[in-house]
């Protein structure tokens, strides 16, 4: 896939190395989003087990 990068007012196609960096960044972002979703799901599972909402749990913790 061709990516475009901008440096100040100049827009050009990314080189192969730059494209690889962009794709690595996208993969890293996807992994981060998945990790955060898993973390939230785990937290929700605990809350469900306790029968509490997130706000109630926050209130308990002060």
């Amino acid at each position: 896939m061709t990516y475009k990068i901008q440096i100040d007012d100049l827009v050009r196609d990314a080189t192969g190395d730059e494209a690889a960096i962009i794709e690595a960044g996208h993969a890293e972002a996807e992994a981060r989003a998945e990790a955060e979703a898993a973390k939230l799901a785990a937290r929700q599972a605990v809350l469900d087990k306790l029968g509490l909402t997130a706000n109630e749990a926050a209130a308990l913790l002060g």
Binding site: Y3, D9, G25, H26
Partner: protein, 284 residues
């Protein structure tokens, strides 16, 4: 000498001629030491305010005609303000004349005048626009070079407008640094559910802003990017989706590199349009 009305058969004296000519080469001046209301005889002359207290020059209608011109001047410390009485006074600049300031009052009709200030009090701004970079079409990153210098210690970067191809966060990298980004992110949903996360020796500040298909936004403060100190960053990110978390980012880069440039990078997809504004905070 104020303007004269000569009548038929009147003798024009040498003294009158010299006096009228003198106004062309050495304008008639009337000095006022208190607030003053212009009169018809002021046409074509220079009204000089000389008061340590604030004064006004009031402009009334039916005294002047289209094309009439006066010069208003202030030679003392009290600011003089050109004030509309029964005539209108328009201006593209301030109506206040500071000490050693002046301006031209020009009438377009008997009751309508325009004031053209030729000297005004300058005010220094706390924020100075350093650069405005228009974002191109479907770009995967935007680098802004020459953003930071010794002129300022602290900077504000506003990333706004345009569209994104995806709902995604915006990342910030300083210079060519791809490691050592540390940040705490406090965020929550509109339902009030709080959540905390962070960047722990990450390759960028990962949640410096956010955007979607109707625009993007980041409001970033950057401290000491040019100094050989750790760069400090504080930002607000607001994904405008009712279910998304929004929050504040506070962080630093764990090195003492001096930076002149930064790059804004969408987490995924591309940016189109909008702009990146860089401002410097005045030191004094």
């Amino acid at each position: 000498m104020a303007i004269q009305t000569f009548t038929a058969a009147q003798v024009l004296t040498a003294a009158q001629m010299n006096a009228l000519q003198a106004n062309d080469y050495n304008q008639t001046v009337s000095t006022k030491t208190a607030s003053y209301t212009l009169v018809a005889a002021d046409k074509g002359t220079r009204v000089v305010m000389n008061s340590a207290s604030a004064t006004t020059i009031t402009v009334n209608t039916s005294l002047f005609s289209a094309g009439d011109t006066l010069i208003l001047q202030n030679i003392s410390t009290g600011v003089c303000t050109v004030t509309a009485g029964t005539a209108t006074v328009s201006s593209a600049g301030p109506l206040a004349i500071p000490q050693n300031g002046s301006g031209i009052l020009y009438f377009t009709s008997a009751g309508v005048s325009i004031y053209y200030p030729s000297a005004v009090t300058t005010t220094s701004s706390a924020l100075t626009l350093i650069s405005a970079t228009t974002v191109g079409t479907t770009v995967s990153s935007v680098a802004v070079s020459s953003a930071f210098s010794a002129t300022y210690d602290n900077y504000k970067v506003v990333v706004i407008g345009g569209i994104m191809s995806d709902n995604t966060n915006l990342k910030l990298q300083l210079g060519a640094t791809t490691t050592g980004y540390y940040a705490f992110v406090a965020r929550g949903t509109v339902a009030g559910a709080a959540d905390f996360t962070g960047d722990n020796n990450a390759s960028s500040f990962a949640r410096i802003g956010a955007g979607k298909t109707d625009g993007y936004y980041a409001d970033i403060n950057i401290g000491d990017p040019f100094a050989t100190k750790q760069t400090k960053v504080e930002s607000t990110y607001i994904p405008t989706n009712t279910g998304s978390s929004m929050g504040k980012v506070t962080g630093f880069i764990n090195n003492t590199t001096s930076y002149t440039a930064f790059t804004i990078i969408p987490d995924g997809g591309t940016m189109t349009g909008g702009a990146i504004y860089v401002y410097g905070y005045a030191k004094s």
